[in-house]
């Protein structure tokens, strides 16, 4: 199966480990991700802030490129997913803005592309049963706390492909890899997102709650599908170990890193060394990474 792929800026820079694990894991499952040629930034959260048509031109251009290549567009970055999905919805439902956009970017696009998150592709196109059948290295004995980025769930009517209050796709995927998803209360708690820029103490507190809740539930690792959450939850732990007495750090991995490892791919390709909380000791202890890897 071939699906068009929009990596987005984050996965092209800071999230290379995410990007590579997405491409290679999906390839191992028979999904060939075809990167869009000459793509531009989706605009991150800005295009949807104001009611201006021109701001949608960036994401619209991406959608137009995708329409030339196929009927589906895969994204792994949750923000790109949110922006593209919602822009596409505007194009589908709002005739006036659709016409002005098409005029401006010189296209004739009606919103026919289906924007899909990688997790959604794994669930609906590949199927978790099929994933399970391809597991080479079971993650058995690994207790994971699945953390869902809000960008794939909110606003629910526009973007959610899972229960926005109690999502479970990631838990099901992890279970199909042999891991043990813990029941916990932090799944959809906000990680603080852009508060990092304005109110860093508050953002740190929010990450603290999430990580300690996962720890109390018995998790050994946090798994997420969102690059910004990954960054927040991982990065704050550097401060938390100093500021909060008794704080126990937890590695924060992208779900596709664990997926790739379970499918028997080489873990050293996914920038594990770039994480602030080193996940390697845990992976070694679980027999998922060679002892020799530095």
């Amino acid at each position: 199966m071939k699906v068009s792929y929009f990596p987005g800026c984050t996965l092209n820079t800071k999230g290379k480990g995410f990007d590579r694990s997405v491409r290679e894991a999906l390839a191992a499952l028979g999904v060939e991700l075809e990167e869009l040629p000459d793509w531009n930034c989706c605009g991150a959260s800005f295009p949807l802030l104001v009611d201006n048509v021109l701001d949608l031109a960036g994401p619209a251009r991406v959608l137009v490129a995708a329409s030339a290549q196929g009927d589906k567009l895969a994204t792994a970055c949750t923000t790109c997913y949110n922006v593209l999905k919602r822009t596409n919805r505007v194009i589908r439902l709002d005739r006036e803005r659709r016409e002005r956009l098409n005029y401006f970017i010189e296209a004739d696009y009606q919103g026919q592309v289906e924007v899909m998150d990688v997790l959604q592709i794994l669930r609906d196109e590949v199927g978790f049963e099929e994933v399970k059948a391809k597991v080479q290295k079971s993650l058995s004995g690994l207790k994971v706390a699945c953390y869902y980025g809000c960008m794939v769930l909110r606003p629910p009517a526009e973007v959610a492909y899972d229960d926005p209050e109690n999502p479970h796709a990631l838990d099901e995927l992890m279970a199909s890899l042999g891991a043990e998803p813990v029941l916990w209360g932090g799944k959809v708690e906000c990680c603080g997102n852009y508060l990092v820029a304005i109110k860093p103490e508050l953002a740190m507190e929010m990450s603290y709650r999430i990580i300690s809740s996962a720890y109390r539930a018995g998790a050994e690792v946090l798994v997420t599908n969102c690059p910004l959450c990954q960054f927040n939850l991982d990065r704050w732990q550097r401060d938390l170990v100093v500021k909060k007495g008794g704080f126990r750090p937890l590695p924060v991995l992208y779900f596709t890193q664990l997926l790739a490892i379970a499918l028997g791919l080489d873990p050293t390709r996914y920038e594990l060394e770039k994480h602030y909380v080193d996940p390697k000791p845990l992976l070694k202890a679980k027999g998922l990474l060679d002892q020799e890897v530095g």
Binding site: P156, D163, P164, E165, N166, L183, G185
Partner: protein, 427 residues
């Protein structure tokens, strides 16, 4: 004909029968009583629900003018007012009710225990051959073929061996009966929003988060715990119980936009009865606002606060999750403007009253309209609230929307009056 034998159907049937007319009652379940039979005590009087209902169910069962079809549904309806022809489908009970004496030996001996998800709301058990309650009317059992060892594995037949009158009949088939009736009252009642719909409250995966009807079963002297308040996870007595009002009601974005009307009252009742049983227990209620319009209702709420020291917190609960054997309740107290977090032993959700999904099919068969939520729609909300829009078919009870027992009973008597006035015109 009365369809549905909850308190609405019972009241209507008795009113008409006592006026001297014949009534055919069709009830889907094996016995009559509806939701009221599951309740512990009723607000605002705190009468024992079963005690005030049982004389009425018994009267229906014995009344010479009432023909009772339980475990049955309406298959089709033809004709018009004064002359309806109905076909009634009766499900096989696998017990010959004509000779069964209701001795209960079969239930006692049956080796197969099943969790009763319907009547006991998942808290209690029943056998594969069962009646809904010990006071069931009719007090005759049915075999549930999905769990019976004979139907699933071809062996057992214990009930057959022990039945003193040879009433067990594994070969019983579905039967169709035909009746002719002059008018119809539809009293099919309501359902509760399933916990699985409430993701923010654990979607039914947290054992100590239960719905209000399950709490009624815990409070009931005839319930699975004999009236003791014991939480499902470990059977311990909960010392901190949080009640969440408007769970799935008044939430146009995610759930039901309407107010379920009765839950402010029954939640006050729950908290009160809990405090009567567990003297050192804390009862905490989260509410948006208290809707207690009714005779003696506001006074009832007042009593919960002043006499029973129930703590009311004004605000919504955002999330429930399990941690260290407790259910963590995260919410907001909008009066102080603070977030609150409570470690509760048990959480009771006052879930929305919703239409029964099966009502859709029934409405189609009878040619009735439904409202935007799936409740039966009245001919006119102001002036014809008991008429269905189809002449000769009337509506009563919670099938048209949330109602408490007093309102349900008034409607039922009203609908019965409508039918009787029709009959009196025909002479």
């Amino acid at each position: 004909m009365v369809i549905g034998a909850g308190i609405a159907g019972i009241q209507a049937a008795l009113d008409i029968a006592n006026a001297g007319y014949e009534v055919v009652v069709v009830e889907r379940l094996p016995s009559i009583g509806g939701h009221m039979l599951q309740l512990s005590e009723t607000f605002p009087t705190l009468d024992c629900s079963q005690c005030i209902l049982t004389p009425r169910t018994v009267e229906v069962g014995r009344h010479e003018k009432i023909k009772l079809y339980t475990y049955s549904e309406v298959e089709s309806l033809e004709g018009e007012v004064g002359n309806f022809r109905v076909r009634i489908r009766r499900y096989p009970s696998y017990v010959n009710w004509d000779i069964c004496t209701g001795c209960g030996v079969c239930q006692e001996k049956c080796p197969k225990r099943v969790i009763s998800t319907d009547f006991e709301r998942g808290i209690g058990k029943r056998k594969a051959i069962y009646t809904l309650s010990p006071q069931a009317v009719p007090n005759k059992p049915v075999i549930d073929p999905e769990n019976c060892l004979y139907f699933t594995q071809g062996k057992c037949r214990v009930c057959e061996r022990f039945c003193p009158v040879g009433a067990i009949d594994y070969n019983q088939k579905e039967r169709i009966f035909e009746e002719e009736v002059g008018a119809v009252i539809v009293a099919t009642g309501y359902e509760l929003l399933p916990l699985t719909e409430l993701g923010e409250y654990g979607a039914g995966t947290i054992p100590d988060v239960i719905d209000s009807l399950a709490f009624e079963r815990l409070l009931s002297a005839s319930g699975p715990t004999a009236g003791k308040i014991l939480r499902p996870s470990d059977g311990k007595e909960p010392k901190v119980v949080v009640f969440v009002q408007c769970a799935g009601s008044r939430d146009p974005e995610r759930h039901m936009p309407y107010c379920s009307k009765i839950c402010c009252m029954y939640t006050a009742k729950h908290a009160m009865l809990y405090r009567h049983r567990v003297h050192d227990g804390q009862a905490i209620i989260f509410y948006i606002d208290i809707r207690s319009a009714g005779k003696g209702y506001e006074e009832f709420i007042h009593r919960a606060v002043t006499e029973d020291r129930v703590l009311y917190i004004r605000g919504k609960v955002a999330r429930l999750y399990q941690e260290d054997g407790k259910v963590v309740v995260r919410g907001v107290d909008t009066l102080s403007g603070r977030q609150v977090e409570i470690a509760a032993d048990l959480v009771v959700l006052a879930v929305a009253m919703v239409p029964r999904p099966e009502t859709r099919a029934l409405a189609e068969k009878l040619g009735l309209r439904l409202d935007e939520h799936g409740f039966l729609e009245e001919e006119d909300r102001n002036f014809a609230p008991l008429e269905s829009g189809r002449p000769g078919i009337f509506l009563a009870g919670a099938g048209t929307g949330p109602k408490d027992i007093p309102e349900t009973v008034s409607q039922a008597s009203g609908a019965a009056g409508k039918v009787l006035s029709l009959f009196s015109q025909w002479g």
